[in-house]
C-alpha cells in the first residue's frame, strides 16, 4: 500500500476557452428555442403540403411533434456526439469534461450534462414536476365527482383529464426511481465512476423532457378522450390530440429503452473490483431487473403507437374492423407492454424498500438471494399475464384459465418480497427515522393492493369488477400506495446524499400521517364505489354512489395537502436543512462511503469490495469500503460473468 496521494479533483480542472465545442452554446433555452422554431417550420410546411387532404390535421400534428422533439434535442446537444462520430471529429477529453459539467456551476443542471449525479438530480425535479401535473389533474377529477351531476367540467374535458392524469402518472412512476436513484445512487453503489454510457444517460433525460410538452399539448388539440389505455377504435377517431399523445409515447419509449440498456450495461460491466453479482446491494438488482423488463415492454408500446399514428395519419387499418383491422390486435400488443410496465414501475421501489428496511432494522436483508429470485420470477411471469386485462373483452375465452394461472402465480414471488421485508424487520433494532415510516406504509398499502388484486385475477369475479372503480382503487393502492410510497421512502433515504442536507423529520411526520390517512380514505372510498358497481372514468354518476365519492374526494384533498407538506419539507430541506454528514444512516453501501457532495468521478480511490453491504451485527469490518489511499497495483477489471458469484456467502435462505 502506498501512502495517500491526494488526487486533484476533476471539478477543479481548468478547461481551455474552447472546451466543449457546441456544448458551450447549448442549454435548455437553445433547446426550447430550436425546438419551437423547428416545430413551427414543420407546422408551416406540413400545413401547406397536406392541407385539404384526408387526415390533414393528424399529419400536421405528427410532423410538428416530431420536429419539436428532434429540434429540442438538437438544441440541447443530444446529437452532437453522434454527428461528431460520423464526421470523424471525435470530441476531445476537454470537451467531455465540459460536457460532464466541469466549471459551469449550477448552470449545468440546465444543460446536456453527462455527469450521472446531475442527470439524477434533473430526473428528481422532473419527476416532482410530473407528479405536480398529474396530481393537479387528479384534483380536477375528484372535484368533478363531489356531486353526481357536477357542471365543473364538461364531459370532453373530463375524459381528456382522465387520460392525461393516467399517462402523466405512468410516465412519472416509471422514471420516479429508475430516473433519480438508478442514475444518482446506483453507480456509486456498485463502485463505478459513472454510468456505462454517460451521453446516453443525459440523452434519456432530455428526450423524456421533450416528450412532456407533447403530452400537455393534447389539451389544446381537443383532448384525448380514450383513457390512458387509448383503446382502438375510439382512439383512432379521437381528436388530433391523439397524435401528440402517440408521439409522446414514442419519444418516451426511446428514453426508457436507452435508460434500461444503460442501467443493465452499467451493472454488468462497471462494478468495482470485488463487487460480484452476489454482493450487489439489493436496490441494484431491482433497477436491473426493472430495466430489463422495460427493455422487453417498450418495443410493444413503440409498435402499437406507431400503428396508431399510421392508422390516424395515413389511413392504414390495423385497429379498425370496418376497414380490415382488429381492436383485439391493439389490446393484445398494448397489454403485452402494459403489464410488464407495471412491474417496471414496481420493482425498483420495492428493492429500495428492502434496502431501507435493512438499514433501519440494522440487519442484513432477509433472504437476499430469494428476493432476487423473486424479482426475476416476477419479471418472467409478468410477460405472460397480459390477457388478464382482456378477460372481459371476449377475446379467446378459452385462454382465460391459463392466464388466470399465470396471474395468480405472480402472487408467489410477490409474497416472497413480503417475506423478505418482514423477515428483515423480524427482531431488528427498528430505527424509526422518516424513510422507515414510509417502509411501513408501503407494507400496509401493498398488502391491500395485493389482496384486492386476487379478486381481479379470478375471471368470474373480474366479470363484476372489470371496468369498475374497484380496479381503480386496486391499482392506486399498488402503484401509489406501494410503488410511489416506496419511492417516497427512497427520496427520504437518499435525500442527504443527493442534496447534502437533512430533511426536517418533524414536518415529514406530519406529511407522513396526512399521506397515510389520505390514501386510506381516498381509496377505501373508491373500493366502496367499486363494490356498489360504479364504472370507471365516468363524469356523471348515479346519486346512489354519492357518499362514497365524497369520502374519496375528501381523502384526495387530504392526500394533496399531505404531498404539499412533503414538498415543502423537500424544498425547505434543500435550502435550509442541516448539513448532512456523509453517512447519516450509518449504512454500509458504497454511496454512503463517498463524501457529500459527491465529487465528479465519485471515487478518488477505486474501492475494493470484500463482502456484501449487509454485515450488520456480524462483527466483521465493513466489506464495502473506499480505501483512503490508492492500492499499489491498479485493479484488474474483472469481466462480467467470469467472476464466481459464490465466492462469499452472500446470505440467502439456503
Amino acid at each position: 500500500m502506498t501512502t495517500a496521494v491526494a488526487p486533484p479533483l476533476l471539478e477543479d480542472t481548468q478547461l481551455g476557452p474552447k472546451a466543449g465545442g457546441f456544448y458551450r452554446y447549448q442549454n435548455i433555452w437553445t433547446g426550447l428555442g430550436f425546438g419551437i422554431f423547428l416545430g413551427f417550420v414543420a407546422w408551416l410546411v406540413s400545413h401547406a403540403t397536406v392541407q385539404g387532404s384526408n387526415w390533414g390535421t393528424d399529419m400536421v400534428v405528427t410532423c410538428t411533434m416530431v420536429a419539436w422533439v428532434v429540434g429540442f434535442n438538437i438544441g440541447m446537444g443530444t446529437f452532437n456526439a453522434p454527428i461528431h462520430w460520423i464526421l470523424g471529429h471525435d470530441q476531445t477529453h476537454e470537451d467531455e469534461l465540459y460536457a460532464a459539467g466541469v466549471g459551469q456551476g449550477s448552470s449545468r443542471y440546465l444543460k446536456f450534462c453527462t455527469d450521472h449525479k446531475v442527470v439524477g438530480t434533473q430526473y428528481l425535479v422532473l419527476v416532482m414536476v410530473l407528479f405536480g401535473v398529474g396530481g393537479t389533474l387528479a384534483m380536477m377529477i375528484r372535484t368533478q365527482l363531489i356531486t353526481p351531476h357536477s357542471s365543473f367540467l364538461d364531459p370532453q374535458t373530463y375524459n381528456a383529464i382522465v387520460t392525461i392524469h393516467g399517462m402523466v402518472m405512468i410516465i412519472a412512476t416509471i422514471i420516479m426511481v429508475s430516473g433519480p436513484f438508478a442514475n444518482f445512487i446506483m453507480p456509486i453503489m456498485i463502485g463505478a465512476k459513472d454510468m456505462a454510457f454517460p451521453r446516453l444517460n443525459a440523452m434519456s433525460f432530455w428526450v423524456v423532457v421533450s416528450a412532456v410538452p407533447c403530452l400537455l399539448a393534447t389539451f389544446f388539440l381537443g383532448g384525448v378522450n380514450a383513457g390512458w389505455t387509448t383503446y382502438a377504435p375510439l382512439s383512432v377517431q379521437a381528436p388530433a390530440a391523439m397524435d401528440a399523445f402517440a408521439m409522446t409515447i414514442i419519444t418516451f419509449v426511446v428514453s426508457v429503452t436507452v435508460a434500461g440498456v444503460n442501467t443493465i450495461v452499467t451493472v454488468v460491466t462497471m462494478r468495482a473490483k470485488g463487487m460480484t453479482m452476489g454482493r450487489l446491494p439489493i436496490f441494484t438488482w431491482g433497477t436491473v431487473v426493472g430495466g430489463a423488463l422495460g427493455l422487453y415492454a417498450m418495443p410493444a408500446f413503440l409498435a402499437v403507437m406507431t400503428m396508431m399514428i399510421t392508422d390516424r395519419a395515413t389511413g392504414t387499418s390495423f385497429f379498425v374492423p370496418e376497414v380490415g383491422g382488429s381492436q383485439w390486435l391493439y389490446e393484445n400488443i398494448f397489454w403485452i407492454m402494459g403489464h410488464p410496465e407495471v412491474y417496471v414501475i414496481l420493482l425498483p421501489p420495492v428493492a429500495a424498500v428492502l434496502e431501507i428496511a435493512s438499514t433501519f432494522a440494522r440487519k442484513p436483508v432477509f433472504g437476499y438471494k430469494v428476493a432476487i429470485a423473486g424479482f426475476v420470477a416476477i419479471a418472467a411471469l409478468s410477460i405472460m399475464v397480459w390477457a388478464h386485462h382482456m378477460f372481459t373483452t371476449g377475446w379467446a375465452p378459452n385462454l382465460a384459465a391459463p392466464f388466470m394461472l399465470t396471474t395468480e402465480l405472480i402472487s408467489i414471488p410477490t409474497g416472497i418480497i413480503f417475506l423478505c421485508t418482514i423477515g428483515t424487520l423480524w427482531k431488528g433494532s427498528i430505527w424509526t427515522r422518516l424513510p422507515m415510516w414510509f417502509v411501513y406504509l408501503f407494507v400496509w398499502n401493498f398488502i391491500i393492493g395485493g389482496v384486492t388484486g386476487i379478486y381481479l385475477s379470478d375471471v368470474p369475479a373480474d366479470q363484476f369488477f372489470h371496468g369498475d372503480m374497484f380496479v381503480t382503487a386496486h391499482f392506486h393502492y399498488t402503484l401509489l400506495g406501494g410503488a410511489m410510497i416506496g419511492a417516497t421512502a427512497a427520496v427520504c433515504y437518499w435525500f442527504p446524499k443527493v442534496s447534502g442536507r437533512m430533511l426536517n423529520e418533524r414536518v415529514g411526520k406530519v406529511a407522513f400521517w396526512m399521506i397515510a390517512i389520505g390514501i386510506q380514505v381516498t381509496y377505501f372510498g373508491q373500493f366502496w364505489e367499486g363494490f356498489q358497481g360504479m364504472a370507471r372514468r365516468i363524469a356523471y354518476y348515479n346519486p346512489h354512489y354519492e357518499t362514497a365519492n365524497q369520502m374519496s374526494t375528501a381523502g384526495a384533498y387530504l392526500l394533496m395537502a399531505g404531498w404539499l407538506v412533503f414538498l415543502y419539507m423537500m424544498i425547505n430541506g434543500w435550502r435550509h436543512g442541516k448539513i448532512a454528514p456523509a453517512n447519516p444512516w450509518h449504512a454500509k453501501t458504497l454511496e454512503w462511503k463517498v463524501p457529500t457532495p459527491v465529487p465528479l468521478e465519485n471515487f478518488l480511490v477505486d474501492p475494493v469490495v470484500t463482502s456484501d453491504p449487509y454485515t450488520y451485527g456480524e462483527g466483521v469490518p465493513d466489506g464495502q469500503e473506499v480505501p483512503e489511499s490508492a492500492p499499489a497495483p491498479e485493479p484488474e477489471l474483472v469481466p462480467a460473468g467470469s467472476a464466481p458469484g459464490d465466492q462469499i456467502d452472500a446470505g440467502g435462505a439456503s
Partner: protein, 282 residues
C-alpha cells in the same frame, strides 16, 4: 430498562423460549395475527353482503362467493404480515436520546430456509386452490343451453339497443324472464363498449364487427342497471339503461306491447313451451 436488557429479554422470549406463550413475541404476534385475521374475514363477509348490489343471477352469486372465499384465504396471510410489521414497530423499536445515533446492530439473520420453504409451499397451495376455484366456477358458467333466450345487444355511442330475434322487438330497455337461461350476443357499430349488467354477474365487451357471447340465468325478480364499462367517448357516463327481470307471463305481455305477435312473444318468453328451462336455484 437499557437497550441491552431489552435485547436480552427479547432473546429470552423467542418463539420457543420458556416464558408463557402469550408473553413471548411469538404469542403476542399470534394474538395480533388472530385479531387481524378475524377483522379480515369479517370484512370479507361484510363487504359483499352489505356493499355489493343484490345479485340477480347465479353468476352474480359466484361473485359474492368468490369474494368471501378469497378473503378468507387471503386474510391469514395478510394478517401475518401486518402482525409482524406492527409487532416489530412496537416491540423492537429503538428509542434513544439522540435520534441521529443508530441503534446497535441487531442479530444478523441472512435467511431462514425452513421458513422460506414453508412460506413458498403455503402460497403455492393457496394459489392452486384459487386457481381450481376460478376454473371450476368459470367452466360452470360456460355451459350453453340449447333453448336459451337469445338477446342481441348492440352498443353504440352512447346507447344500448336490444333486439329479441324472432319477435321483431327492438328496445332500449332490457327485460328478461326469470329462471330462463339467456344468451347475449353482443356487438357494436362503432367503438368498443363494455356490456355490463352488473347484478347479473357477467360482462363482455361489445366489439365492432365481432359478436361476443355471454350467458346467464336471471333468478331474481327486479330492476337492474346496464352500464357501459369501457370508456367509449363523450357521453360514456350516460350510456346506461334499466333492465328488469320479470315473470314469463309479464315478459310475454311486455314483448307484445313492444310489437311482437302473440305467438312469437309466447315462444320467446317460453310460456308456450314445456318449460324445460333450468332454474339454477335462487
Amino acid at each position: 430498562m437499557s437497550f441491552e436488557e431489552e435485547v436480552d429479554e427479547i432473546e429470552a422470549n423467542t418463539l420457543l423460549g420458556g416464558a408463557p406463550f402469550f408473553s413471548r413475541p411469538g404469542g403476542k404476534i399470534f394474538i395480533i395475527w388472530l385479531v387481524f385475521t378475524v377483522i379480515g374475514v369479517l370484512i370479507g363477509f361484510y363487504a359483499p353482503h352489505h356493499l355489493l348490489p343484490v345479485m340477480q343471477s347465479p353468476e352474480g352469486g359466484d361473485v359474492w362467493a368468490t369474494i368471501v372465499f378469497f378473503t378468507v384465504l387471503a386474510a391469514p396471510v395478510a394478517a401475518l404480515v401486518y402482525a409482524i410489521a406492527f409487532y416489530s414497530l412496537f416491540a423492537w423499536r429503538h428509542r434513544s436520546e439522540d435520534p441521529d445515533v443508530p441503534p446497535p446492530d441487531a442479530e444478523p439473520q441472512r435467511g431462514n430456509g425452513p421458513v422460506t420453504v414453508v412460506w413458498l409451499a403455503v402460497s403455492t397451495v393457496l394459489v392452486v386452490v384459487l386457481l381450481f376455484w376460478g376454473i371450476a366456477v368459470w367452466s360452470a358458467q360456460q355451459v350453453s343451453h340449447p333453448n336459451a333466450l337469445q338477446v342481441n345487444v348492440t352498443g353504440q355511442q352512447w346507447l344500448w339497443t336490444y333486439s329479441y330475434p324472432g319477435t321483431g322487438v327492438e328496445t332500449r330497455t332490457l327485460d328478461l324472464p326469470v329462471n330462463r337461461p339467456v344468451q347475449f350476443n353482443v356487438t357494436s357499430v362503432d367503438v368498443t363498449h363494455g356490456f355490463w349488467p352488473a347484478v347479473l354477474g357477467v360482462q363482455v365487451d361489445a366489439n365492432p364487427d365481432v359478436v361476443t357471447v355471454i350467458r346467464t340465468t336471471p333468478n331474481k325478480l327486479g330492476k337492474f342497471i346496464v352500464q357501459c364499462s369501457q370508456l367509449c367517448g363523450l357521453y360514456h357516463a350516460f350510456m346506461n339503461n334499466t333492465g328488469d327481470v320479470v315473470t314469463s307471463q309479464q315478459f310475454d305481455t311486455w314483448l307484445q306491447s313492444n310489437g311482437a305477435t302473440p305467438t312469437a312473444a309466447a315462444t320467446a318468453a317460453g310460456t308456450s313451451s314445456s318449460g324445460s328451462t333450468t332454474a339454477m336455484g335462487k
